[in-house]
């Protein structure tokens, strides 16, 4: 009789314990199923390379035309940006001004908006 009472019971009880543990585990797993937005999506969403590329292109324009940027080229950039990059782009180049260090540079205003990221910059180039 002690064989049954003291040794047989715990096999069933252990089984029960494991079962209950699994139940709780399942509840926890269910709770934590949702994960947030991943880093990769965040990186893809943020148009870092687009903005850098646009800046380089605008500086190339300034190199070529100075402050009288060719209207056709500006239109190229604005229209193609909207069509292919889905971004509203605007930029303007002002005549050179003297900045510290006695250098004469063009103030270049760049505006970029693709509905998720808005980027505005005035850079002296």
């Amino acid at each position: 009789m002690e064989g049954l009472n003291e040794e047989g019971q715990w096999i069933v009880l252990m089984g029960l314990l494991v079962a209950v543990a699994m139940f709780f585990l399942a509840l926890i797993v269910n709770q934590s199923a949702l994960v947030g937005q991943t880093t990769a999506e965040g990186v893809l969403e943020f148009p870092k390379n687009d903005i850098r590329d646009l800046r380089t292109e605008i500086f190339d324009c300034v190199d070529e035309f100075g402050d009288t940027v060719d209207a056709d080229v500006k239109k190229d950039i604005v229209v193609i940006s909207l069509e292919r990059k889905n971004a509203v782009v605007d930029f303007s180049v002002d005549p050179e001004v003297e900045i510290s260090g006695g250098r004469w540079l063009h103030p270049v205003k760049i505006h970029y908006n693709n509905g998720v990221t808005v980027y505005d910059e005035t850079v002296y180039y």
């Binding site: 069933v12 089984g15 269910n30 390379n49 646009l54 193609i80 292919r84």
Partner: protein, 166 residues
């Protein structure tokens, strides 16, 4: 008497086992955690690589030089573009060569319309069902007698490259 107890031990084992298996079955059948495979990671890596390659092709090697990219586009040198692009993006530090493929299209503006022409066509590995990414780069072309489709005026064109892994 002795036999009875013996059987009970076995039955208890079976009972405990059944309870656990049943619970495991219920638990597993009800918790269906299935996160869609994060394909965006490979997309992100490829996109970064593609942008890097185009940016580096657009960087002249010397201060007064003209970038490779500009020369290729300006002189419609598709084979040179393709070779350089694939060289750059398939290079690894270990010396092994990666298996990336590409096609490229150039977008330009013509009378209020954005038009395109295929610069580098896709090779045979393209079936239309690849997980591809796109990298783009602006190219500023000087005024020069160039011939169609890009006419002589100075213009900004957009080079778009589609990259996929074999």
């Amino acid at each position: 008497m002795v036999n009875d107890t013996g059987q009970l031990y076995t039955m208890e084992g079976v009972a405990a086992g059944l309870i656990m298996l049943l619970t495991a079955y219920i638990v597993i059948s009800t918790t269906s955690v299935y996160t869609p495979g994060d394909t965006h990671i490979t997309d992100m890596q490829l996109e970064q690589l593609g942008s890097d390659v185009l940016a580096m092709m657009d960087t002249p090697d010397t201060e007064t030089g003209v970038s490779d990219l500009e020369v290729f586009v300006d002189h419609n040198n598709a084979t040179g573009f393709e070779a350089t692009f694939l060289d750059y993006c398939n290079a690894t530090t270990g010396g092994a060569v990666d298996s990336l493929h590409m096609s490229a299209t150039i977008y330009y503006q013509d009378g209020d319309e954005v038009k395109e022409y295929l610069f580098v066509p896709a090779d045979d590995s393209w079936t239309g069902r690849e997980s591809a990414v796109r990298a783009t780069r602006w190219v500023q072309l000087d005024e020069r007698s160039r011939g169609p489709p890009l006419d002589d005026r100075a213009r900004a064109v957009l080079v778009e490259v589609l990259i996929w892994r074999d």
